[in-house]
Symmetry: C2
Subunit: 389 residues, 2 copies
């Protein structure tokens, strides 16, 4: 019996539209065939979210064909058949013998495929930045007549502007994120281990919200006293105490798309220092959202935050955020002064205002928002509060 | 106030012993200084498990110094100070301005550091396979007098033989894995969504076992009918039904170390087809564990499984497993016929006997084990059962 197609997150037309945008960029760069290897970009172009990217795999996009072809190890082909929008023949499983092989790997199969399909002479796009240098060398040496074109981040730039369908999915993810943050508010109390709180919050992120399950887990960070100055520790085995401060950052996920959120919690009344930075951050956050609209730049949004924040006596060293979508961070623009990327409707950003001030003090707040036709819309419905428990 | 050191997973001596082994390999390869960039290798050499590896970072190991130096973005320096065994001065936070910078990144800072410390002329080790080709080019062009030595997987090979302390930690992880599998047995029932079962199991993996919390999450796969032929789908929004088959693969984590396990579940009486393959797999698994002992090769273990399995009329295409330790897979040897790696005491493997037979049928069972002085010891205490619920 053949593997049945799973429920698709997006209609076929949506994928063909995304592929058209990629093909336009291929034409602009004189690229006949493109090998997409970044897992997030493969998700974007096909709907595939299975976690097979730790061995070689590639989605071959050709100007000559409507649908792309995915080459993956044999054990992952059924998941690709199940999740990807394409026809059955568009998924090719290569021999398991190549996994753990001393001299060859799946990229040799992809190169053979390109030779067999007369793609060995034209412009060949590779996402070189996410490929090992040996892999790039392999393509060069086994395809000497192809002209390599670096497509690093090129698809990620296309992903920057979301469709209305993507926005809907990100809003579903945001509802899950909010549910997780509310669960944190319920469970965090003195004497509880950080890990036990993390278990409850993560379970909520998996169960989902409004009848829609979380479809995966992305970054999860619970950095509590005396670690409030740290940014990327998942959690510890320590217990919460009276007076503990807890910085939370996580995002619910739908079909690979994430809506991230940060909030700071305090067990008992928060310190003056914490309240002062919170008030300055919220003022800055609102100024930044106020500055976000079509025609403004990413730098304008950061400048609005920074000037408001500075007036209140604070400085944030790290950038104010970045585009967000499939599996969190899109490595393209930055909400950072001097970034001239012009905002367009349906661009989505994580306005990330985490501020790790001293070795013993940090504070976090953030919003995931989209640019609308007139301004900005945050996806979370949570208050911009310093939660005192 | 300075960031306090957190509780260390291993004593200082253990890290110095690991570093000595790396330095021996450096001498063998005429490498004066090594830039470690693989997050698992950084965990191995320092105890650091925070998730900052999505931006450039590097652990500089020099033959001239006892302790290595870690260069990371400023916001991640406090977590490094907290988690790493080294002295405070051994963690250097680079400017946040380099994150999202169009022309420079953290590797420029690492290269400057190497120049300042007179490391620009000798042998320079890079883990090229886990670096973007542009990064390797940057090192070459900015350090023209250094002699590049490829250290890809070199530390991972050193990790293959665990210390007794590492074995203890992996056993703690295995107890968490078992708790997760028992939780699956409790919660899976007809009508429950896969995501709701996943939430319960994952929460158990985070809470931990025997008073020891899970310290992170690694791969988690719940592939149920009609997706039993898939290997790497985390879970779906589908509900379990009478007759559903559920293939589970996950691993509890302690201090970054994972002990993985696979078991197959059936709601109601399992089919003849499922029972037959289960019996053949268990026989093969036991033959494989029987063949694992010092002096035997990885290939011998695979051959023992394959011949037993074949006698019962089955074939497994994919390899029979791989070394496991920090964050699951170690990309070195394979439990695969023809792999001549000789087993030594305290090597640890995931004997991964997942078998995705047809597009509509797969079966999974596995054990994480260590090689002892006389044979093999599985870490899990669970029966090798086809769990009928």
């Amino acid at each position: 019996m053949a593997m049945p197609k799973g429920p698709q997150a997006f209609p076929r037309d949506e994928y063909l539209r995304r592929l058209s945008a990629v093909k336009l960029e291929m034409k602009r760069r004189e690229t006949d065939v493109l090998v997409v290897t970044s897992p997030s970009n493969i998700t974007y172009l096909t709907g595939y979210t299975a976690k097979s990217g730790y061995v070689p795999q590639g989605l071959v996009v050709s100007l000559k064909e409507d649908e792309p072809t995915f080459l993956t190890r044999r054990m992952d082909a059924p998941a690709a058949l199940h999740q990807m929008f394409m026809d059955t023949g568009r998924v090719i499983g290569y021999s398991e013998n190549l996994v753990g092989h001393p001299e060859m790997d799946g990229f040799d199969v992809i190169i053979d495929f390109l030779h067999e399909h007369n793609c060995a002479r034209g412009g060949l796009g590779l996402e070189a930045k996410s490929l090992a240098s040996q892999t790039v060398e392999k393509f060069k040496s086994k395809m000497p007549e192809a002209k390599m074109v670096d497509f690093s981040n090129a698809i990620t730039w296309i992903r920057l502007v979301k469709s209305d369908l993507e926005i809907s999915v990100m809003k579903e993810a945001a509802a899950i994120t909010d549910a997780g943050m509310l669960r944190a508010k319920e469970v965090i109390r003195p004497g509880l281990r950080e890990s036990d709180a993390a278990a409850e919050i993560i379970a909520t992120l998996v169960r989902g919200a409004n009848g829609k399950a979380g479809t995966g887990l992305s970054g999860f960070y619970l950095c509590a006293s005396p670690r409030s100055a740290t940014a990327h520790i998942p959690w510890s085995e320590d217990v919460f105490r009276n007076g503990s401060q807890i910085n939370l950052e996580f995002g619910g996920q739908r079909h690979g798309y994430v809506s991230a959120l940060m909030r700071t919690f305090s067990i008992g009344k928060s310190s003056d220092r914490l309240r002062r930075i919170h008030e300055a951050e919220v003022a800055g956050l609102e100024a930044a959202l106020g500055a976000a609209k079509p025609g403004a730049t990413c730098g304008d949004v950061a400048a609005a935050f920074n000037s408001t924040f500075k007036k209140r006596g604070f400085i944030k060293e790290s950038r104010c955020g970045y585009p967000i979508g499939i599996d969190w961070l899109e490595s393209t623009a930055s909400l950072k002064e001097g970034d001239h990327t012009v905002l367009q409707p349906n661009m989505t950003f994580h306005l990330m205002l985490g501020n790790w001030v001293d070795e013993d003090f940090g504070y976090v707040i953030s919003e995931t928002f989209r640019v609308t036709h007139t301004g900005a819309q945050a996806f979370s419905n949570l208050p911009r509060q310093l939660f005192e428990l």
